[in-house]
C-alpha cells in the first residue's frame, strides 16, 4: 500500500495536508480499511479548538467505534458536511473526498513530529 507523499501522518492513523497556515485532516486508507464499512462520522463543530493528539470526533463502522485524534492543534474552520449523508466516502477516498475537517494551524512546529509517507508505510507494514 502506498500513501501520498505530500501528507504527514500520525501514529493514530490520521493524515494532515498543509496549505499555508491551514491544514486539511482525515483518516488514512489503512485506518479506513481496518475499520471496515464506515456508517457514521461524528464531526467536530466549526469553531472548536483541537489540540494535538486530543479526540475531536468519532467514526463508527459496522464492527467498531473509534475516536478521532487530531494530528495537529488548531481551530476548526470547516467540516466535510458530505460525510453526514455519505460516511462511506472515508472508505472510498480517504485522502480525497473523505477529508474530515479543515483547521487554522496554531503551531506548525508540531508537523515535525509527524511521519512522512515512507515512515508511515513502515509503521503500517
Amino acid at each position: 500500500m502506498s500513501y501520498p507523499d505530500d501528507l504527514r501522518y500520525s501514529k493514530e492513523h490520521e493524515w494532515v495536508r498543509v496549505e499555508g497556515s491551514r491544514a486539511t485532516i482525515g483518516i488514512t486508507s489503512f485506518a479506513a480499511d481496518e475499520l471496515g464499512d464506515v456508517v457514521f462520522v461524528e464531526l467536530p463543530e466549526v469553531g472548536a479548538t483541537l489540540s494535538q493528539f486530543g479526540t475531536f470526533g468519532v467514526v463508527e463502522s459496522v464492527k467498531a467505534v473509534s475516536d478521532l485524534y487530531a494530528p495537529i492543534s488548531g481551530e476548526v474552520i470547516e467540516v466535510n458536511e458530505a460525510l453526514r449523508d455519505a460516511p462511506e466516502l472515508l472508505n472510498a477516498d480517504a485522502f480525497g473526498e473523505g477529508w474530515i475537517a479543515k483547521v487554522e494551524l496554531t503551531d506548525t512546529a508540531q508537523l515535525d513530529g509527524l511521519m512522512d509517507a515512507a515512515a508511515y508505510t513502515a509503521e503500517t507494514a
Binding site: F40, E42, E60, A64, V65, D67
Partner: protein, 445 residues
Amino acid sequence: MTYSPHTDADRAQMLDAVGVSSVEDLFADIPAAVRASAWDVPAPLVEQEVRAELARLAGRNRIPEVSFLGAGAYRHLIPSVVGEVIGRSEFATSYTPYQPEVSQGTLQSIYEFQSLICELTDMEVATASHYDGATATAEAALMACRLTRRTRVAVSAGVSPDYRRVLETYCSGPGIEVVTVPVRLAEGEDGTTDPAAVQALDDVACLIAAQPNYYGQLEPMRELADAAHAAGAQFVAVVEPTSLALLEAPGAYGADIVAAEGQPLGIPINFGGPYVGLMAARMASVRQMPGRLAGATRDAQGRKGYVLTLQAREQHIRREKAASNICTNQALMALAATAYLTAVGPNGLREVAELSMTQARHLAGALESAGLAERRFGGTYLNEVALRLPNAARRHATLAERGIVAGHILERDEPELRDTLLLAATELTTDDDIARLVAGLEQTR
C-alpha cells in the same frame, strides 16, 4: 427438562477435572481469618412451617381499603390479558438476549413497545426501556449533556423529589452541576415552574420539567420548551403516560427528550418495583441515547426480522465511552406496558384518563363543598390535586388507622406546603371511596 441436583459423583468428577480434591480446596487462597465461620441462620423448616411464617409476615402488611395515594405511582385496572401475556414462559423466564437474533420474539416485543411509546409521545425513537422513571430522567439529563457538550442541568422543582435525588446521584460522578428552578408555591400562585426563572439560565444542557408536575398541576410546557431552546438547551419532558391520551404530546410542544415512569401502563403498584422507565427522543439524537434499541430490518432473503441496533453506543462495545453503563432494560415490564396499551387501545386509554380526571374533580369538589378542604393552588390539575385542610398530618394518620390513605403529605417534601395533602384519583376510585374519605374527615374535624 428435569431438575437434577449435583450428586456426589458429579461433584467428584468436576473436582477431578479442575484438579483439586475437595470443594474446600477451591477457597484455599482466601485466608481463614476473613472467611465466615458460622452462619447464624435459623434451623430449616418444613413446607407448612414456611407457609405459616410467610403468612404471618404478610399479615403485617396493612392493605388500605381506600387509597388516594399517587405521587408518582398510580393504581389502574390491569386487564387479565396482561398477566397472561407476561406469564408465558417464553417471556417470563428469558433474560435480556445476549445473542439477540435468535430471540426474534423478544426483539419483536421490544420493537412493538418502542413503537407504542413513540406513538404515545409523538417522538421519533424510543429505547427498549430503563429501570424506572427516575433513572430514565437522569439518563435523559446525561444525554442532554452529551448532545450540548455542557455540564450543567436545570431541573424544575415540580419534578418528583425522588427523581431529583436520583438525578443528583447520577450527576455527582461525572461532575455535572444540577440547578433547581423554583416552582411558584406562594399563596394564590398556581404551583408551576416560572418560565421567567428559566430565561435567567444560560449554559445549561437541558431544562427538565414534569407534566403534570409533582403537585398535580399542569405546566406551561410550550413556554418552558421555548425558554429552554432560547438558552440553547434541550427540553426534557417528564410525563405521566396515561395523561398523554388527553394532553398535548411532548413531541408537539417541542420536547427534545421524553422520560416517564411506565408503571401506570399495566403494572401493579409495588414498593420497590419492578417498574419500567420510558425514554423517547428525536432521531437526530439517537446516537446519544442510552441503553438498548431494537430495530426492524429484512434478512438476506427479504424476510422481516428484528435486531438490536446501534449497539456501538453500548457499553459492551465502547465501555468507558458508552452512552450509558447501564444497558439493562425492563423487558418484562415493557411487555406488560405493550400488552396493556394494546388491550385498552387509544380509546380505552382516553377513557382511563378521562375517568381519572373526572373522579379527581369529584373528590376535590366533595371536600370543598363540605367545607373540609380547599385547593392549595390555582391553575389546572388532571387526576391529582393538592388540597389544604387543618391538621392534615394528624388526620391523615387517624384515617390510615381506619384503612383510608388520604393521599401524600406534601409537607414532607416541601416545608412551605403545610397542611397540604396530595390526593390522586383514577378510574378505580369509586364514589363510595370519596364518600368514605369525606365521612372520615368529618369525624376528625
